[in-house]
Amino acid sequence: MSALRTVKSTEFDLLAVRKDFPGLHQKVHGKPLIYLDNAATTQKPKAVIEALNRFYTADCSNVHRAVHALSDRATKSYEDARTIVKQFINARSEREIVFVRGATEAINLVMNSYARPRVKAGDEILISALEHHSNIVPWQLLSEQTGARLVIAPINEAGELILEDFERRLGPKTALVAVAHVSNALGTVMPVHEIVRMAHARGVPVLVDGAQAVPHEHVDVGALDCDFYAFSGHKVFGPTGIGVLYGREDLLEGMPPYQGGGDMIRSVTFEKTIYNELPYKFEAGTPHIAGAIGLGAALDYVSQIGIDRAAAHERDLLNYGTELLSAIHGLRLIGTAPEKVGVLSFVLDGVHPHDVGTVLDRDGSAVRAGHHCAQPGMQRFGVPATTRASLAFYNTKAEMHALANGIRRVQKLFAA
């Protein structure tokens, strides 16, 4: 805590938080880095970097196998991380927490092990028009393999799901609903509680892609009552290559393994293999042990600074940034849902997002220019691409100012 300021424990100490992220304190092209590409990946706090370092320095060994001390420590840290995840998202049991590579693998696991054995030709998978490619393409693969049909629930001009249209598309043929909790391209918070309620009323299970929600708000899978919840570690200040599939225990229990190999078995003979219990049935091979431990450290860090406090700061920041950008003549914000988090996606009259991104980069601001792996969603707005500034709780109002000034410089450069 700063000696110059007294900060109440209920207050969000932005300065202290920024000090925890070494990656933020660097210059790019001679200017202080303004990192606004958090929807792509977040910077990592020291706690995560140190946890990785500690594992590889002191505890490096495999899990669930040997009888030696290092393996004991590694196994304990790995399983502790699972407990941290369980508590963070309020799952009932560690058996419901499967470590995977990321949200993409989590969705593919559900597609392969849950949907494919059940889905018949003519069945429907219902998704929204705002999905990331990772929640579109697996269902297209499933459709090709089974003859199922992909059904899309549309969005309105503000970038919100039209709930009545969603409900109309739920029918006797709907086998599964798969929706993002938060849109990566626009930041729209989807009405997932209503979606789950509507789907469950018709006996349809729901997968929620939470990759963009977990870093921004308190996620409670118990209260949400969804059947599956997927997220990536690296978007919530953890390492890359690790993620989580939460699944309701009774559903996971009835699903065949996703991959075969070591650790997912109880006994193997050439005649018959007996699978391991949950969640190990779904964790074939040596897992990303360091990654899981790093993710545990990341979630502990977020809990310690307080996700609700961080979210309140982010809300302020988003409102502030929205005001600043809305005041720029010739700028159009794409995605203006009242319920949104963390994303300022925009187009500038007469300037392509790629050029905006290049000029802002030379200004020190890291933003994303492109279709954000959500091409169908972008088409809805008649734009092939946008420039996207995406926020995390370590961003500041001064950075919002710098972004707005940078955009004005872009306009000046390309002024007619």
Partner: protein, 152 residues
């Protein structure tokens, strides 16, 4: 600060901004003998190149499409640079242009005429593909390749 804006000004030189805003030879070429379509899946940029080739010489050329300032101005300046040139000359010009864009050759050595304005690209490796999309598409058109040319 000044240094940075200079870097940016190296890339977005006046001629580039001008051609991006008012592209020359823009639009469909009726009775084109050769045509091809190019696509950069990373940014969604699309370009169509039309060529009228007579006895291996580019008599006329035009392009259509949408894209960033670099891709549009590059397509525009390309069409201006290749009129009246033979296929072999176009091929040599492209090779020199690519060397310039990737920093393999200096502008004064490359004998590129107006195309030398793209020398600033060497500081922006992420943008080289924007500048070469039209050229790859042109080559596909001249070689009568069917299908869409992709930068990826």
């Amino acid at each position: 600060m000044l240094r940075n804006m200079n870097d940016i000004a190296d890339l977005y030189q006046e001629l580039i901004v001008d051609h991006s805003r008012r592209p020359r030879n823009f639009g469909r070429l009726e009775h084109a003998t050769h045509r091809a379509e190019g696509f950069n899946p990373l940014c969604g940029d699309k370009v169509k190149v039309y060529v009228n080739l007579e006895e291996d010489v580019v008599r006329d050329v035009s392009f259509e499409g949408e894209g960033c300032a670099i891709s549009k101005s590059s397509a525009s300046l390309m069409t201006e640079s290749i009129k009246g040139k033979s296929k072999a000359e176009v091929e040599r010009l492209f090779s020199r242009f690519r060397d310039l864009a990737t920093g393999m050759a200096d502008a004064d050595q490359a004998d590129l005429g107006k195309l030398a304005v793209f020398s600033g690209l060497r500081g922006f490796p992420a943008r080289v593909k924007c500048a070469t999309l039209a050229w790859h598409t042109l080559r596909a058109a001249l070689e009568d390749k069917s299908g869409v040319v992709s930068t990826e």
